[in-house]
Structure formats: C-alpha cells, structure tokens
C-alpha cells in the first residue's frame, strides 16, 4: 500500500471490493507454486499430492458453511459461481418450468445472468426491496407460480450491507418445491452460515473477499441438486466444472476459510463495534448525511452513507489523497456514471445515490483508522460543499 506515500496514514476501507491475502494463507499456498506444482488429475505422486491438497481445502470450505465436502465445487470466483448456479439450474430444470425469481438488488453477476435468461425466453420476476434494502419473504412467496424453478436472493448486500432473510425465503422455496440459491460472497466469514438450517440449495462463495487469493471461488450444491455444467471438458469437480484445478489458489481459499471460521465470532464483534463508531461519527459530525441500508440487520463490516449535495467520486479522490481507500457503489459499476441500481431500488433519488460512499472494514482496521477517517472526512466534505454548485440553497 505504497500508493499514497505522503499521506499520514494508510487506511484501506474497501474490503468489500477485495482483501489482501493473509500471510498465513500465502504461506500455505507457496509450496504449491514451487515444488508441489503437479496437476491434480495426474496419476503419479505429483498428482496425488495436488489432489489431496484440494480435498483438504474442500473440507475447510465446506466446514465454514456446515456443508459436506462433496457439496463444494471450486470455480474461478464468485461471478462464475453465480453464473453456474443460475444458468446451470435454469438449463437442468427447463422441462419443469420457465419462471425464475430474483431481487432487484443483486450483484451484477446475478442480475445480468437473469437478464440474459430473460432474453432467451425465461420469465423472470425481480422482486423489490424496502427503503432499507430488505427483501420481504412474503413478496417472494407471492411471486411464486406453478412453473417457478429457481429463487435467487443474496445473503449480504454488497453495497449497503443489508442482511436478507435468507432462511425464511429458503423455507418458502422449499415449501413450494423450488430451488433456492443465495449469493453469500459478502456474508461468508462475517456472519455464521449453516446451509442446512437456512434451507439453502446453492450458495456462492468467493475467496478474495475473505483474505484468500483472487481467481478462486466455490459453489455449494446441495446433494441431489442437478446442474447443467457451463464449462465442460475433463472429469474435474464431479463433471460439473471442467478445467485444470488452480491448486495453489484452492489451497489458499481453504486456509482462508479455516481461519475465517475460527475467528468469526470475535472478529465479527470487533468489526461491528468499529462499524458503529464510524456510522455514529459520520452522522454526528457531518450535516445532511443519511445512512443507507438497514441499521441493525447489517453486515458487520459495511458502512454506506449518502453525503448530500456531493458526488461520491470527488470525495473518494480526496480521501485517496489522504491515504483512505473507499468506494462509491460497488467496485464493478463504479467506473460508470450510472447511479447504483441498489440505491435506486431503495428509493433514493439520483442525486442522493450519486453522493453515496461505502466504507468496508476488515482485519487490518483499528480504532485509530476510524478516528483518522472521522478526522479527515468532515473537512473534505466541507471544502467540496463550499465549491459545489448544488446545495441546500440551490433548489436541487
């Protein structure tokens, strides 16, 4: 993090975009880049060694969400897992029905996949959320038809941090014989997950959001659930996902899961405290700010606020100069000028949505980091507002 060497402090608050690989995780991976470089499909000892490492990692990933190891498929990341879950189920169950349900506030990996299926002729219902970004299970229930084959509602919302009532939605899905997928990329490792208790049939995980390496993810597929593979080739991953396994990446992901599970209760409490301190500080020190997302049903690491009369981007730039890395909206869409679809779905105006800032906390953050942000942010806002053509008096 040498990017802003002149800043007094380096504070990375973009852990929902990506996280650094933990030293323990990197240490676990290193042997598989060097000596243990075998192909897990080879039938000699280099292959067996790689295969064993993958099996070991599979157990660790499964354990984090209380699944069985053979219910975990490794992929190249959260995006591929989302695509595989949704397309794979839609294809496999096409003869059973043509209707799919998701929400308006999903990550683009889910949303765009459903939109593509819509173009291919599937009927898709996008259920709305309330002003806190919460999906009403009853709304999902009402959307179910005879020909509904899949419901996909995310667990932890990546922009505003709202934790969705996944268990209830899963129960409704099960009651109606519909498969239920949840994108848990942001909640895994932050909130306890038990796929059986929570009635989940398919669940998406991504390694780089929990201090594992980029380029790896997993899909939990409940035993008995059939998927049409999206990448075919060798006999990898029970024929559900072909391609030479990314052994070091998978090993790192496994280790990251093991550590996340061990540290979850403690780390989650710690992050929640920091989160609330940051939220309270911002609301107290800066006028005309609103908190986006649910005040209580909220991921422990997410802070999202709209700073009225300002553009999130200009605040980001100024924060970056002070050594603070944050984001506006989700990283993937932040290159575009479209306001976040999530904030719009929650009923924010374009202007308020444009002024949104996300601080995503993580392992490295301390009280001092929060103090630092609370020290540098208010003057930035004040300076920018003084220069801004829009403001409380401008009629906008």
């Amino acid at each position: 993090m040498s990017s802003q060497p002149n800043a007094r402090r380096q504070v990375y608050l973009d852990h929902s975009a990506t996280t650094p690989v933990r030293p323990e995780v990197l240490a676990a991976m290193l042997p598989y880049f060097a000596g243990k470089f075998g192909n897990a499909s080879s039938v000699h000892s280099w292959g067996y060694e790689a295969r064993e490492a993958i099996n070991d990692a599979r157990e660790k990933v499964a354990s984090l969400i209380e699944a069985a190891p053979n219910e975990i498929l490794f992929t190249s990341g959260g995006t591929e897992s989302d695509n595989l879950a949704i397309r794979g189920v839609a294809r496999a169950r096409k003869s059973k029905g043509n209707h799919l349900i998701t929400s308006q506030i999903e990550h683009h990996a889910v949303l765009h996949t459903f939109e593509a299926l819509q173009k291919e002729g599937f009927d898709v219902t996008f259920v709305p959320c309330d002003k806190y970004g919460l999906i009403d299970p009853d709304g999902v229930r009402k959307a179910i038809r005879k020909d509904t084959i899949l419901i996909s509602v995310m667990h932890g919302q990546n922009e505003v941090g709202t934790i969705e009532p996944v268990k209830e939605i899963g129960a409704i899905a099960r009651e109606h014989g519909v498969l239920f997928h949840t994108d848990a990329v942001q909640s895994v490792g932050k909130v306890p997950i038990n796929v059986n208790d929570m009635n989940i049939d398919l669940l998406t995980l991504s390694s780089h959001k929990i201090y594992g390496p980029k380029g790896v993810g997993a899909l939990y597929v409940k035993r008995g659930v059939r998927l049409t593979p999206q990448l075919t080739g060798g006999a990898h991953e029970r024929r559900m996902r072909a391609g030479t396994e990314n052994v070091p990446g998978i090993v790192g992901f496994g280790e990251a899961c093991r550590l996340a599970k061990a540290e979850l209760p403690e780390e989650s409490r710690r992050l929640t405290k920091l989160r609330d301190k940051l939220i309270e500080g911002i609301l107290r020190q800066i006028p005309d700010v609103i908190l986006n997302g649910h005040p209580v049903l909220r991921l422990p690491h997410n802070v999202n606020v709209s700073i009225k009369y300002l553009e999130g981007e200009s605040i980001l730039l100024n924060l970056d100069r002070m050594g603070v890395a944050a984001s506006s909206g989700s990283a993937c869409t932040s290159g575009s000028l479209e306001p976040s679809h999530v904030l719009l779905a929650m009923g924010l105006t374009h202007e308020t949505a444009h002024g949104s800032l996300r601080f995503a906390l993580g392992m490295s953050n301390t009280e001092e980091d929060i103090d630092y942000v609370l020290e540098v942010l208010p003057p930035i806002v004040e300076k920018l507002r003084a220069m801004s053509p829009i403001g409380p008096g401008s009629g906008l």
Binding site: F33, G234, V247, P248
Partner: protein
Amino acid sequence: MSIDSSLVYMDNSSTTRPFPEVNEAMNSVYARQFGNPSSLHSMGYEAEKLVSKARKSVANLLGVGEDRIFFTSGGTEANNWAIFGSLRSAGSKYNHVIASAVEHPSVLAVMEYLKQIGYRVSLAPVDREGRVDPAQVLSLVGEDTCVVSVMLVQNEVGTVQPCAEIGAGLAQLGPRRPRFHVDAVQGFARIDIDVERWGIDLLSISSHKIHGPKGIGALYIRKGVRMHPLILGGGQEQGLRSGTENVPGIAGFGVACDIWAKISGEARRKMYGLRKRLMGGVRAVFPDAVLNGPEVENAAPHIVNFSFPGFRGETILHALEKRKVFVSTGSACSSRKSKPSPVILALGKTEEEALSAIRFSMSPYTAVEDVDNTVSALEDALKELAPWRRKLT
C-alpha cells in the same frame, strides 16, 4: 514433492513448474498490490496497471494487439467460450460446427453437448501421425457452419496441425465463412504462430502449460469478431468476461510470457535435440516401441509418445515413478480412467497400442541427464516387468 535434482519430471504437457521469476512477481502482488482493478482509488489503479502490463506481455508473445487478449480462468474456459460464445452470437441459421477428431476434451465435450442439444457436429479424422487433412476439413464446411476448431499442437502425441492451410482455405470462402478457432494451449510459446496471416479468429492459451500459474488463461478474439460473453457480471474484460480479475495470476502469466519471448528460440532448439535423443534411447532399449505421432516433420518440440505393446501404460508409469521419473499415459484429464486413449485410436492404432501408450513431455528445464535418466529408468522398468509381458487385448 520438492524440487530435487534426482526427480525427472517428464509430464510438462499436464502442467509445468512456474518460473521462479513468476513466483517472485506474484508474491509481491499478493503481499502488496492487492487492489481490485475496478476500484477508484490508487490501490485499484495500481492493480489495473499490473493487468495491462501483463496483457501487453501476452499479446506481444502471440504477436497481436493487446486489446484483443481476454483473460479467462484457463484453457478449458477459453475453449468453451470460443465455441459457445460464437454460437450464441451467430444466430440460429448457424447450426453446424467442425472440429478435429483429436481435440482436447475441453473441445470434444462441447461438441458432444452440442450434438445432444441438436447441433450438427462434424469431426475431421486424422492420419496415422495425428494430422487432419486441410482439404478434408474445408470440404466439411457448409452454409450453416459457425465454427471450425482445430488445435495447434495435439496434447497427447504432439502433432502440429496444418492451421495455416486451414485458415487460408477458410479465408477464401468470403465474408460468410465460418470463424476459425485454434486451441493453442500446447503450441503457444513452443512453436511459431502467425495469428494474422493464418486467418485465426479465436485462439485459446493457458498459463500453467508455459510455466505460469494455474487458474489463468486467455482467449484471443480478432478485431471485428462478435462474441457473446459466457460469464456475466461486473463487465470486466471489455464486458466480455466478468469477474474480479485474478491480478496475481495475470501478472504471473505476463512474466512467463516475457521469459518465453527471450528464450523460446533456444528452448525449442534444445527440446528438439532432446526429443531426438529420447526417441533414439527408447528405441534402443525397447525395439518394439511404436512411436505415436510424427517422427520429425510436424512434431512439436516437447512431446514424445510411444506405445509399449505387452505392457499397460499405467504399469509402466508406476514402474517409472518408482524410479523417480514422472510421465503420463495420455492427457492428464483423462488419465484417471484406464481406457484406451481415444486419441491414439483415432490415429488408426490398435487397442493394444492405445492401452500401452506413454507420453513423455519436456520443458526448457529438461536437461540431457534427465533424458538419459528417463531412458535408463525405462530400460530398468521394462526389464523388471518383462516376466509379465502379455497381449493386452
């Protein structure tokens, strides 16, 4: 396993050991440059710079424009994408695809699936050396042909396919010609490719086959070729391949390409020399050995495949393994099942020959002593196994 000079790794077509420079580069990215390239802060810009630098390195080794390289999770994804993506963008009049009969499973499985869902699939046969006949491939092309997929180097027997001739023939078919996909996973960096002149529209490569990290590959897409994405989401890779970029993997792939750009000429000469030496050695210790694939002409520098009639491939593999020599019986993906290799059978070989095949595959790391050790281990192994020699079929 550790890198122990007494171990002889002759399975470089399955996967390769990353260059030390690759690991160094990746370690620094893991430790320090962990940003998400889409992020709007300096950590993000820094990650984005790493990705563009690597994209240049890959494009440079392939001799194409850097904006035509799209990173994927590997060769399998690139192959799947090339074919499925073409069909999705082509419209329903295109109902036919062509491939060689000896493609990698990541192409053949796609063909099999397409057949199941109603597409017409033609598989061009190969001669005894594993080569397709360009004229025959071209004769299969119809009005409704969407893609012709022919690999550059066959992964089990090392045959170099006549991609230049096929591409030239397709180019003469005019604007409605099918697009030409080349699976160059085994050929990239190891033999010359002229993407432009050969008329290649789509080309797959994989990092872990050229001493880069696993979990990363790329698809080259010629400018003007319309492609549908296979994986949708945040719109990375110009909207054609979504998913947070595997920045360290991409950086490592780039470094591997930079190294090949420097060493490839010499590495090829060296591997061709070792190949000749290995073939001589094998024939000397086992005169009944049957070469699968080309002798010299149209042979890739790194692959040698022999059948040892009377012995099961796995039996030899394990006997060699005991002697610290690591080989494979066919492509790694299919090597878990003990069936005759369909590729060797496609060459017109007997089932006996297909069951007794062993692939030796080399790398720039392979030394003369490795080849000599392989030959003496083979001699020793076959001597031990001789009492059990019998007809397999």
